[in-house]
Amino acid sequence: MNLRRRKAAALLATAGMLTVSACSAGSTDQDENDGGDGASAASGDLSIGLVAEPANLDFTTTDGAAIPQVLLYNVYENLVQLDQEGTVVPGLAESWETSEDGTVYTFELRDGVTFSNGEEFSAEDAKFSIEAVQNDWSVSLAAAMDIVESVEAVSPTELAVTLKRPSNDWLYRMTTRIGAMFDEKGVANLGTKPIGTGPYTLRKWNRGDSIVLERNDDYWGDAPGFSEVEFKYFADPTALNNAFLTDTIDVIGTVQTPESLGQFEGNDDYQVIEGTTNGEVLLSMNNESGPLSEQPMREAVRYALDNEALLETCWAGRGELIGSMVPPTDPWYEDLTDMFPYDVEQAESLLDEAGYDGKPLRLRVPSLPYAVACGQVVKSQLEQAGIEVDLDQLEFPAAWLQTVFTDADYDMSIISHVEPRDMGAVFGDPSYYTRYDNAEFRDLLEEADQASPEEQVTLMQDAAELLSQDAAGEFLFVLPNLMVAGADITGLPENAISESFDLTSLGRE
């Protein structure tokens, strides 16, 4: 901006403030002209409001759901991807075959696919990407690739991956961020310049505000509906709702205040979407030390909680009760809510059995909306059953990670575990903060991973039942996938199952 324009802008700014009313009157006119859509018209065809902005765009070194939410399936593509039903479907691989013994996967790759830097995608890139996860990635998720023995680019369109042992989980993990395909020449500036084969490319990142993707005209597949999509970030849920109400955004991607949905429901201008996620809200318990290392104490906690009332109070009744660590969209989901029905008398007699001395349990919750809301309810319900509770709020993520997660200095906490199929991650490792140590459970998981798909389902169900029976934690509910959008927006994903906010199916009527 040259000096004259800058001066003019400064003058305008001052004038604008001095004559607020005049300025406001002017704005009303403009609202009518552009349909009140000033911000999104300028910066994109579709604007989606989300809560957590990525700190950088490099998910090989930075954890968290915010980066794959924007980039996966949109900018980066995988060999195999996850559809809305949770089924593994072809991505950059047209098809794949598994060897008799389940250790060799042979992928037939699509021809004529290019990265957004112009490089062609081939089996060499796939080999590079998989090996990079093993060698260069520093986030913990990379461990899922440890099972790979070797990768071979048989031909430019054929890739053979050999596993150390059969694993059902590995192919599933290939649909997550660790299966994203990179170009060797495109990884110099992962944090700011993502290069993928996807239907969109990164156009602009306004730090602290928004990320804008634009359609990749050289995309190999069907062109997506919107030429530009803006992800706009709001740390404050009220600001997010206000931005939607004032037409700054077209979609509230994740509703953080379910009690506010009332204002959108029953209005023809809006659609409210309520699906499910992978986020099991867990009342975690310290299985190793403190009063809850005793199973009768943990069972007492489970009997003492009225999950239905809890969900009603702390998340406006939105979400689904589960009874174990499995979301309804997983193939081995069973409703286990009857295993520990609400029964205060049962809880009290278990407390007697355990010789509970009335010492308060330390409930240390992260400063997240659902955890804070549910913490209060858990405390009051437990106290009605005679269990004293000290409720602490720990700043999330840093303070919670330190106290509860790293030091396991807690009796109970409340956190949503959002990773897909994370029963093993949360309870399969005795050094994890839940400190659940059960060899039988771990054997079941390992058996399930190597079994046939049908057996896998049965074995995983056994594992989930065992977990629930042991009262390893109290599984409060699965977080709902709540979205609000203008009535004309089509193709919004009902369930948030993959790590991606998949833009490819979106359109406007």
């Binding site: 324009r5 003019a8 802008a9 305008l12 700014a13 001052t14 604008g16 403030m17 607020v20 300025c23 406001s24 009157a25 704005s27 403009q30 609202d31 009140g36 000033g38 911000a39 300028a42 902005e53 700190a55 950088n56 490099d58 070194t61 930075t62 954890d63 520093s138 986030v139 913990s140 998720l141 461990a143 944090g191 700011t192 306004n206 730090r207 602290g208 505000d209 706009k232 970030y233 709001f234 740390a235 404050d236 600001a239 206000n242 931005a243 109400l245 004032t246 700054t248 700043e395 999330f396 993520p397 840093a398 303070a399 990670l401 330190q402 106290t403 997660f405 790293t406 990773e419 991650a425």
Partner: protein
Amino acid sequence: MVLRILQRTAILLASLAASSILVFAFMAVLPGDPARVALGVNASEEAVQGLRSQFGLDRSLVVQYLDWVRGLVTFDLGTSYVTRAPIGELIADRLLVTVWLVVCAMLLALVVALPMGTLMAVRHGRLSGVVLTAFSQLGIAVPAFLAGILLVAVFAVKLSWLPANGWTAPADDPVMFLRQLVLPVLSLGLVQAAVVARYVRSSILDVLREDYLRTARAKGLRPMKALVRHGLRNSAIPVVTVLGLQLATLLIGAVVIERVFVIPGLGSLLLDSVSNRDLLMVQDVVMILVVAVLVVNFFVDLLYLVIDPRLRTGAR
């Protein structure tokens, strides 16, 4: 005069050094490990240690402190733990936004407070004075974020006159820039105006009671004219002081207001960095705010010398 300036400079430098130690110490005792936060819940202890050493967090605190100060003095703010980008660039972008906000709010506060405070003083005891004073009392009682929420509810959500939040660079779209600026500047500035007006009022009331003003009026000058000719300069000293101090309040107010109005300024950068334990970034941002406040107060001190010749002799 020179001696006084040297004295003030020495105080400024000592304050800066002391603040840097305080800021660093606060960061050091903050719970939470930056490397753990960056790598997430499932990261191995090994990976966390690796990142700690990459960030230099495994060195002694003294070495870390000296390294940080050396960076500050040479204008090298370092690399963010979280974004892995140069902190200087990240802060520069955000600083520009906050400066717009704070400067506009300060201007608005002055434009409202000077006439309002003067009127409150001159009409002291009369109904109009009492009403104005009551208004300013209300302004002081309402926190800026509450004012912001109310303004949004009325002017954005209810009336749809202005956007509820957001920020557009003036170069990209000047009209949108102005529209988005109005509500945050009003919420910050009006609250400030109320505070400043009270100081203007009491300062002018003091001056009105001074002998020289009585003399001036006895000579036949009308009250307002006497005030303008002989009083304003003297009443300016406390007001200038307050403006200096209010800058700190404004900066703190801006942190909250940026969150309410989703403005990507220094305040939101600070809040995000604290929760991500981007410690170096937090230290740098806080230091910049400290420097801003101290330097402004330094100039306020110098300004006294200009306004009030009595102070120049150094015999205060």
